[in-house]
C-alpha cells in the first residue's frame, strides 16, 4: 500500500523526483567525494598552470595549477554543510520561539513580533554582512549569520500556523485532558504545522548556498586557499577577461545546479502538500 502511494507520487512529480535524486547524489558527493578526488585540492603545480579541461584534468587547472575538478568536489562538502547547518539552526530555533510566541500570545508575543519586525527591516545580504563583521571572519560566522537572518521567516510562518490552529478540536482536547503547555505546543501543534516549514526549509537551503557563496565571493567568511564555490569564482574572475573560462564556469555550474535542485524540490514538495498553490 505504502509503496503504491510512493510510486503514484513519483509518477505525478517527475521533475521533483529528479531534483530529489540529484540532491541525494550531491549529498553523497559531499560526504565521500573528498576521499575519491584524483588530486589534492590544495596542491599547486608550477608546470600545469591554467590548463584547459582535458582527460588529465577534467575541469582544467587554475592560476596556481590546482585541479579544478577536485576543488569543485571538495567544495561541495563545505557549501552543503554551511547551508544545512545554518538552515537547521534557523528552523529549530525559529520554530520553537515562533510556536511559543504564537501559543502564549500577550506581551511576550508583542515584544517578539516587534523584534522580528526590526530584523526584517534589514535587507538580508546587508544583515548577513554586518553579522559576519560582528562575529569575526570565519565559516562559523557565516553559519550563524545565515541562521539569524532567516529566523524571522520561520518565526512568522509557524506563529501564523499555530494561531490558526489554537482553537481546533484536537488542541482543545489536548488541553482539557491535562497536557502541559509545552506538550500541547510541541507534541500536538508543531507536528501538525510542519508541512509549510518543510517547504520553507527546502527553498531556504538553496538560498543559503547562494548567500554563503555570495559572502565568500566578496571576501567574507571563507578564506583562500579553502576550496569553496564562491571563492573559486572570485579567484577566477580576472581570468574571464583573458578567456580562461573554466576556472569560473565549473564552480559556478555546481553552484547553480545545486541551488536549482533545492528550489525545484521545494516547489515540488509544496505542490504535493498544498495542491491549490501549484505554480
Amino acid at each position: 500500500m505504502r509503496s503504491d502511494a510512493l510510486a503514484f507520487i513519483v509518477r505525478r512529480n517527475v521533475i521533483t523526483t529528479v531534483a530529489a535524486v540529484l540532491i541525494v547524489l550531491l549529498v553523497v558527493i559531499a560526504i565521500v567525494g573528498p576521499a575519491l578526488v584524483p588530486y589534492d585540492p590544495l596542491a599547486t603545480s608550477a608546470t600545469e598552470v591554467l590548463m584547459p579541461p582535458s582527460a588529465r584534468h577534467w575541469f582544467g587547472t587554475d592560476g596556481l595549477g590546482r585541479d579544478i575538478f577536485s576543488r569543485v568536489i571538495v567544495a561541495a562538502r563545505l557549501d552543503i554543510a554551511i547551508a544545512v547547518s545554518a538552515v537547521a539552526l534557523s528552523a529549530v530555533v525559529g520554530v520553537s520561539i515562533g510556536a511559543v510566541s504564537g501559543y502564549v500570545g500577550g506581551a511576550l508575543d508583542r515584544v517578539l513580533s516587534r523584534v522580528v519586525d526590526v530584523m526584517m527591516a534589514f535587507p538580508l545580504f546587508v544583515a548577513a554582512m554586518a553579522l559576519v563583521a560582528v562575529f569575526g571572519n570565519s565559516v562559523k560566522s557565516i553559519v550563524l549569520a545565515t541562521a539569524i537572518i532567516n529566523l524571522p521567516f520561520y518565526f512568522r510562518l509557524i506563529r501564523a500556523e499555530i494561531m490558526a490552529r489554537r482553537s481546533i478540536g484536537y488542541v482543545e482536547a489536548a488541553v482539557i485532558t491535562g497536557n502541559s503547555a509545552t506538550n500541547v505546543i510541541f507534541r500536538f501543534l508543531v507536528p501538525n504545522s510542519l508541512p509549510p516549514v518543510i517547504v520553507q526549509v527546502s527553498l531556504n537551503l538553496g538560498w543559503a548556498i547562494l548567500n554563503a557563496s555570495g559572502l565568500a565571493f566578496i571576501g567574507l567568511g571563507v578564506a583562500p586557499p579553502t576550496p569553496e564555490w564562491g571563492i573559486m569564482i572570485q579567484e577566477g574572475a580576472a581570468l574571464m577577461l583573458s578567456g580562461e573560462w573554466w576556472v569560473v564556469v565549473f564552480p559556478g555550474l555546481a553552484l547553480v545546479l545545486s541551488v536549482f535542485c533545492f528550489s525545484l524540490l521545494g516547489d515540488g514538495i509544496r505542490d504535493v502538500i498544498d495542491p491549490r498553490r501549484r505554480s
Binding site: V115, D117, A121, P123, F125, F217, W245, G252
Partner: protein
C-alpha cells in the same frame, strides 16, 4: 470615509516609527559589538595618537552609562555625524554623498531592465498559458532564481567582452582614456549630456549595461512569477469574462482591465525584490569595480574600517523601511482591499 482612510494611512506610517527606532538600536549595538575600540573608528585617521583617541573617547562619552551613550549616539546621528573613514580620511557622510549617485544610476537601470523583461514575459506567459512561451518562461525564472548575479556577470563578460568584443572593459564607469565630465548630478550619463559630450554619454551607458544586467537577473525570477500568477488570476476573473462579453477588444481587456489588477501582487513582492537588489548591488559593484556605496561598504568591512560599515547598514536599513512603507501605501491607494484581510 475620507477621515477613516486618512487614519489608516497615519496608523500605517506610525508603525514604522518603532521599527526605525529598533534599527537605530541595532546599529548602536553593532558598533559596540564590533571587534575593536569605537573611539579609534571615530578618531580622525590612522595617524590618530593615544591622546587624540582618549579625547574622542571622552567626547563620545564612552566612559558613561549605556543609556547616556545611546542618547549621544542619537544626537550624533541627528546632526549627521557618522564618524570618519580610516581609508579615505573623509567624513563617512561625504564619502556616501560622493558615491550614492553611481549606485543609484546603476540600480535604476538594473531595475528598469528587470521590470522591462519580467513584466512583458509574465503577461505573455499568462496569455499563452502552457504554450511554449510559458514553458520557456518557467525555465527562465527557475534558472534566474538559481543564478548568482556575480556568476551571471562573469558569463556576460566572457561572451560580450572576451569573445564578441562588443562590451567595454568591465571596470568602473568610464573608459580609461576619458576625462570625467564636471560633476553636476553625479549621474555619469546625465553629466555627460549636460557637458554636451554625446560620445562619452554612449561610452558611460555602455559601461553600465553588463553590471546592470547582472543585477537585474536577481529581480527577474520573483517578478516574472508574480506577474504570470497575477495575470492568470485576472484573466480567470468574472470582470474579464464580462468585459469580453461586452465585446471589448482583446487589447483593451488585457491592458485596460486585466493588467492593472494583475500588477497588484507584483507590487506586493516589490519589497523582497528591493531587498535582493540591495544585496546584488554589493556583489556586482565589487565585481565590476563600480565606485558606488556597496563597493565602498564592503571594502571598508574587509579593511576593518567600521565607521562606514555601520553608517551603510543604518542608511540602507532606513531607506529599505521607507521604501517598503511607500510600496505599502501605493498598494493600499491602488487597491482598497489591500491590508484589510
Amino acid at each position: 470615509m475620507r477621515h477613516k482612510g486618512l487614519r489608516i494611512l497615519l496608523a500605517r506610517i506610525a508603525t514604522t516609527i518603532p521599527i526605525l527606532f529598533g534599527v537605530v538600536v541595532v546599529t548602536f549595538a553593532l558598533i559596540r559589538s564590533l571587534p575593536g575600540d569605537p573611539a579609534v573608528y571615530y578618531a580622525s585617521g590612522p595617524g590618530a595618537g593615544p591622546a587624540e583617541i582618549e579625547a574622542v573617547r571622552r567626547q563620545l562619552g564612552l566612559d558613561r552609562s549605556l543609556v547616556e551613550q545611546f542618547w549621544r549616539y542619537l544626537v550624533e546621528l541627528g546632526s549627521g555625524r557618522f564618524g570618519n573613514s580610516l581609508q579615505t580620511g573623509q567624513p563617512v557622510l561625504a564619502d556616501f554623498a560622493q558615491r550614492l549617485p553611481a549606485t543609484l544610476e546603476l540600480a535604476i537601470l538594473a531595475f528598469a531592465m528587470g521590470v522591462g523583461t519580467a513584466i512583458p514575459l509574465g503577461i505573455l506567459a499568462a496569455v499563452k498559458r502552457d504554450g511554449w512561451i510559458d514553458q520557456l518562461c518557467r525555465v527562465l525564472s527557475s534558472t534566474a532564481a538559481a543564478m548568482p548575479g556575480f556568476f551571471f556577470g562573469l558569463i556576460l563578460i566572457y561572451f560580450f567582452y572576451f569573445l564578441a568584443g562588443v562590451a567595454p572593459e568591465p571596470i568602473g564607469r568610464l573608459p580609461g582614456w576619458a576625462l570625467p565630465p564636471p560633476v553636476v548630478t553625479g549621474f555619469m550619463t546625465i553629466d555627460c549630456l549636460l557637458a554636451g559630450d554625446v560620445e562619452l554619454f554612449w561610452a558611460a551607458l555602455g559601461k553600465m549595461i553588463l553590471p546592470a544586467a547582472s543585477m537585474a537577473i536577481f529581480a527577474i525570477a520573483p517578478l516574472l512569477r508574480m506577474m504570470r500568477g497575477g495575470m492568470i488570476d485576472a484573466l480567470d476573473s468574472d470582470y474579464v469574462t464580462a468585459s469580453r462579453a461586452f465585446g471589448l477588444s482583446r487589447t483593451r481587456v488585457l491592458l485596460g482591465y486585466a493588467l492593472p489588477n494583475a500588477l497588484l501582487p507584483v507590487l506586493a513582492t516589490m519589497g523582497m525584490v528591493l531587498s535582493t537588489m540591495i544585496g546584488a548591488n554589493i556583489m556586482i559593484e565589487k565585481l565590476f569595480a563600480w565606485p558606488g556605496i556597496g563597493a565602498y561598504a564592503i571594502n571598508a568591512l574587509i579593511g576593518l574600517d567600521y565607521a562606514p560599515v555601520q553608517a551603510f547598514v543604518l542608511i540602507v536599513a532606513v531607506l529599505f523601511v521607507l521604501m517598503t512603507l511607500a510600496i505599502d501605501l501605493i498598494s493600499s491607494a491602488v487597491d482598497p482591499r489591500y491590508g484589510q484581510g
